[in-house]
Amino acid sequence: MSDVAQDSGVRDWHLKQPFGWRSLLVLFMVLAVSLVSAERMQFDRMASQIGDFALETVGLRESSQIGRGMESVTRDMFPIAIAERRPIDLMDGLDETELPFLSHIETVDIETTELDPETLQMTTSVSERRFLVEPIGYLVFVLGKMVETIEIAIWASLIAILVSLPLAWLCAGNYSPHPIIYAGARSFVSLLRSIPELISALFLVLAFGFGPIAGILALTFHSIGFLGKFYAEDIEAANTSPQHALKATGAGTFAILRLAVLPQVLPSYTGLSLYILDRNIRMATVIGLVGAGGIGQELKGRFDMFQYDRVGTMLLVIFLTVMALDVVSARFRNRLV
């Protein structure tokens, strides 16, 4: 031990330290920049509002802005809307002998008080109004919209996967047939990835009109941008040993990709594809906001009409769907990979 310490050669060694003065300098600069940025982002207002809300909840304050905003929404949101109730006189072609499943007709007497222009007296007249009540009608409608949303996402993912598989070949540096094709394919994929779904959906709705087509295309474009890039990177990173072995048998590019590359990248491709499906289902609920079909379209309409009870139903359905999806995709992934 002591003779090691006395070795003059070893005493001159300098070992790398985990951080030095340069790291500290960078840390201070990051801190300074974030202080300036926080001021611009109105962090002070956020802090004071959250403080007010905290004081209100413990009873030290009468009201706060957050409290008022949340109260007005939650008061209208609960109970959430499950039933659908529509006046019959506004519905055309309802066959009253054959009502829809689980529904009944409710008759309500409505008193209307009005001023009689001749006698100048207030008169009250009673009119009968009839409603068709479907006890779970709205929930069923929302579930139908959710299924439409999932259909949009599945189609978008499926088309994106099928297009990305050959595209990845062109985007992979080691298998692309020509540098120009490689550069072209890479730029195309980057372009698709750089346009957010919501923006492309906005334009696609102009081109294709309201409805799921615009949604499917918007999601497909972005998904190709994502999958094309990551599929290609998997091909580039694949172990070259089986590829060389197959090349030595005289096999062509397609056989090498199919037999030596695809089996290797398949687990990763499955993971990426499941992620894209998962993401597309979440995005499909959002792109409806600009009219591209699915539950988002309904959500936006009800939100703009301040029907928060119906918004609540939709939020619950979306939440449960995404949660169920998490469980299903986790199981699927475990079995496949």
């Binding site: 040993s241 089986p242 060389h244 072995a245 197959l246 090349k247 030595a248 048998t249 005289g250 096999a251 062509g252 397609f254 056989a255 199919r258 037999l259 030596a260 089996p263 290797q264 398949l266 687990p267």
Partner: protein, 262 residues
């Protein structure tokens, strides 16, 4: 070593003349390299790491282009199509881990099949039977044949590798350090298998090794390679201590050479 290029049926299984190869910004790995191997000869290339063994084999297998020079199989220039009759066994086995042993063996004939058969991995019955026969020949069972390559041991993987090299009915088998990642017992088994399987078919073997004992035991002919040049060429019995030192750039005190010479 012959300089003429005979077209006769007993032309050398493999003939290299004046092969040059260097990598980018590096010194020449092979410089004016010439070599001729008779049909059915089990030829071992002995050399240390960086001596050019792998580069030589890669040039022959079409995995890298030589800068200059002529490579002939049975007197005919090497083309992509003739390359199909050259089997290759790899140091790291070169198997697709998620394909079964049998699928790996059959992939050796993928070059001869149509694209849709490759895409669906639908091999003709005759190829399937051939793969079964070869897997049984290299000592594997039906159970092994249907197992993913990743579930096989190192020795079993190399057996699959040999079966894949044999399925194209090769007249020349290249083996790049076939036992470098195997234990001594498996190494002996694999080398024995490689030699007997090649003998049955009358195929020539060009096998690179760095183990002197294995080279002595199996080779009909040893070629000592050092810095891309042949420093020894002859039967194992002619390999002397001085020549081993020249091959491995070592002095007398090296343990392995003392062991070998003792």
């Amino acid at each position: 070593m012959t300089d003429e290029k005979p077209q006769a049926p007993d032309a050398p299984a493999l003939e290299l003349s004046g092969v040059f190869k260097s990598y980018k910004n590096g010194p020449a790995v092979l410089e004016n390299f010439s070599l001729s191997i008779a049909p059915g000869c089990f030829c071992v290339i002995l050399g240390s790491s960086g001596s050019g063994k792998s580069t030589l084999l890669k040039c022959i297998a079409g995995l890298t282009e030589p800068d200059a020079g002529d490579i002939r199989l049975h007197g005919k220039p090497l083309t992509r199509k003739r390359l199909r009759r050259v089997g290759m066994v790899h140091q790291d086995f070169g198997l697709s881990d998620r394909l079964t042993a049998a699928q790996n063996v059959m992939s050796g004939l993928a070059a001869t099949l149509s694209a849709w058969r490759v895409a669906l991995q639908l091999y003709p019955d005759q190829i399937q039977r051939q793969a079964c026969a070869l897997l049984s020949r290299v000592g594997l069972s039906e159970n092994h044949a249907n197992r993913r390559a990743s579930k096989l041991s190192g020795g079993q993987k190399q057996r699959v590798g040999i079966a894949r090299a044999l399925i194209s009915d090769p007249s020349l088998i290249l083996a790049d350090e076939p036992v470098a990642s195997l234990d001594p017992k498996s190494s002996v088994e694999i080398m024995t298998l490689l030699k007997s399987a090649a003998q049955e078919r009358g195929a020539a073997v060009l096998c690179s090794l760095h183990q002197i004992d294995l080279a002595r035991k199996y080779a009909d002919r040893i070629i000592g390679l050092s810095h891309g040049a042949i420093v020894f060429d002859g039967p194992p019995t002619a390999l002397t201590r001085e020549e081993m030192q020249a091959i491995f750039d070592m002095d007398d005190s090296s343990t392995i050479i003392r062991m070998e010479v003792a």
